[in-house]
Symmetry: C2
Subunit: 351 residues, 2 copies
């Protein structure tokens, strides 16, 4: 009932081997023969059996992309960029590779599960995006898993996280979160702010720690002690920004600036401030991180650190496909750019 390659071969009066060669286009076949085969394929509406090809050839056209949550534009943009680079000629028949997007929710367990699933699929490559868990056990488990994936033939690329221990042949495109965090807070301090709240991401994640360290670096450089009461942790979402801002205001009514772990959190902070009748940046300045598309349209426009997410994702995709040389040492640092916009101003600027 289901038409197979043998059916096509019979119809085209050639051997199955020839049909395979035509379909994969990786072997010389006489033009006339090819023509005949292609016609038969068309007439029979034949579609190659992917699992069978993959089994026989011991490779697949799937590329795994691990993200915290694909609904978050940070990850959506990276994933979109990776995809744009994995298609095109070079793969098996059809020349198109497909992206398997895995939502880990930031859980190392789910990350491991998905890595196993991708290993099972014999994924051609795996791109891990966003920060990593810093739990030593998890980190080790994931490093080991990545090594095994690499050994099994999958190319492994990290995009937005530091190199994994124990996975020597994986490539890492890391974001300069620490430097970005530092410059952002330097900017805020440079405006004259001294009571600065910091809304950090979830604990035990590389991104959270690096951005926070950058913030603290800047405070230290300015001779300011980091007041632990003014640093709150929470998820990378609007709600966290809202709640943390309320709490910061409670702890320090004289607060004049809030630096958030990312733009989404910053938007929540803005909402909380507005709801309390505080003006931005007149009463309180706000800064984010990432420069997601909506940030420039916030009112006032959000001061943030622009991360070239699309470019980084595209590069990760090319490296994963072997279309771009790996960076020396397997590591490249992607820098952010400070975007000073309307949401930050001098303290006490009034409404």
């Amino acid at each position: 009932m289901t038409v197979t390659l043998a059916d096509v071969a019979a119809r085209a009066q050639v051997s199955p081997a020839t049909v395979s060669r035509v379909l994969n286009g990786n072997y010389p076949v006489a033009a006339a023969t090819r023509e005949r085969v292609l016609r038969a394929v068309d007439e029979l509406d034949y579609v190659l059996n992917g699992p069978a090809s993959s089994l026989a050839a011991a490779t697949s056209d799937l590329v795994g992309i691990l993200v915290n949550d694909i609904a978050d534009p940070f990850f959506g943009i990276i994933a979109s960029a990776v995809q744009s680079e994995i298609g095109g000629p070079g793969g098996r028949a059809g020349g198109e590779r497909m992206a398997v997007v895995c939502n880990t929710g930031g859980s190392a367990e789910r990350e491991l599960t998905y890595l196993t699933l991708l290993q099972r699929q014999r994924a051609a490559a795996v791109v891990l995006t966003g920060g990593a868990s810093e739990d030593p056990e998890h980190a080790a488990a994931i490093g080991a898993k990545l090594r095994r994936l690499g050994d099994a033939g999958s190319r492994v690329v990290l995009c937005g996280r530091p190199p994994a221990d124990g996975a020597p042949d994986s490539v890492a495109l890391t974001f300069d979160n620490r430097g970005g965090g530092r410059r952002l807070t330097e900017h805020v301090l440079g405006l004259g702010h001294r009571r600065v709240g910091y809304i950090a991401g979830p604990v035990d994640r590389t991104t959270t720690r690096h951005r926070l360290e950058g913030h603290q670096d800047a405070l230290a450089a300015a001779g300011l002690a980091a007041d632990p009461r003014l640093t709150l942790h929470g998820p990378y979402d609007r709600r966290s920004g809202y709640d943390a801002t309320v709490e910061l205001l409670r702890r320090e009514p004289a607060l004049t600036a809030v630096v958030a772990a990312n733009d989404t959190v910053a938007l929540g902070a803005c909402a909380a401030l507005r709801d309390r009748g505080l003006s931005i940046p007149g009463d309180v300045s706000v800064a984010g991180f990432d420069d997601l598309p909506f940030s420039v349209d916030a009112v006032p426009a959000l001061t943030t650190v622009r991360l070239p997410l699309y470019e980084a994702g595209a590069r990760a995709g090319r490296i994963a496909m072997g279309r771009e040389e790996e960076p020396p040492g397997g590591i490249a640092t992607v820098h952010g750019e400070l975007m000073v916009r309307g949401s930050t101003g001098v303290p006490g600027g009034g409404s």
Copy 2:
């Protein structure tokens, strides 16, 4: 070198069949035996060969999700929701299905290509999201392809588009774009606006047409003629909203309201108005569609039509997995909710 199921069987002193049964958990196996097998799996670091399983079982754990662009939160949210429902027990070994996300860029050709690729993978299900092309040839080709996919055993679910011609066994969750568009414009007209610009989506897409028709329905109901000069088409992006607003203002300086095809476009419209020194809604009211997460944080908050994207995606995922009954007739309409917020007001409200 690569360890196979046979190796595990040897080590556990059982037959390959037993190992398979343990791994798939879909067959009674003595606890002691299972234990032994699991231990062998662990010791050998064995990972099932997905393509081989899929070939032998004639099914796969892959679910295709077609989106215009995964970087767009509209699609990211739906995709995220679909994914949340396709995992869990019920699948093959591991119980986790994986999502293959395909960026079509709105191109019917790419959509067809990806559908073929998914057919090749013997995808367990395919979810097509967002509006469809209205080109009759494309529509027919896609309908035929969907039927073939269904015949081959993939469950097909449409989320956000009308039923496809020629694909009788596919399920459609359609958005009430027309009704939403009508209510939105009714609201604007109800405020007293008479010179209303409309920034539509790309031509020849179902979503574009339905929203526009809703807008025109409302105009007609109010006894107003639709002024063709005040309707512009463009992609669903910020830039389109910006440029179209500039052009609308040129064509009709007395414009008092802009209704946009979606929130992203509306944000672009807001930016254009602000850049021209016009206040929202004092000088010009703005409305969007979809109620994406950032819309409530726009200043002023965006009046829009809330589409339950996550809920719809989750439902599509459940139906795709056979975990929820199909709607009667294979069609269900998902309604939007008018969200009246600060970006719309009475005309001439001033700054």
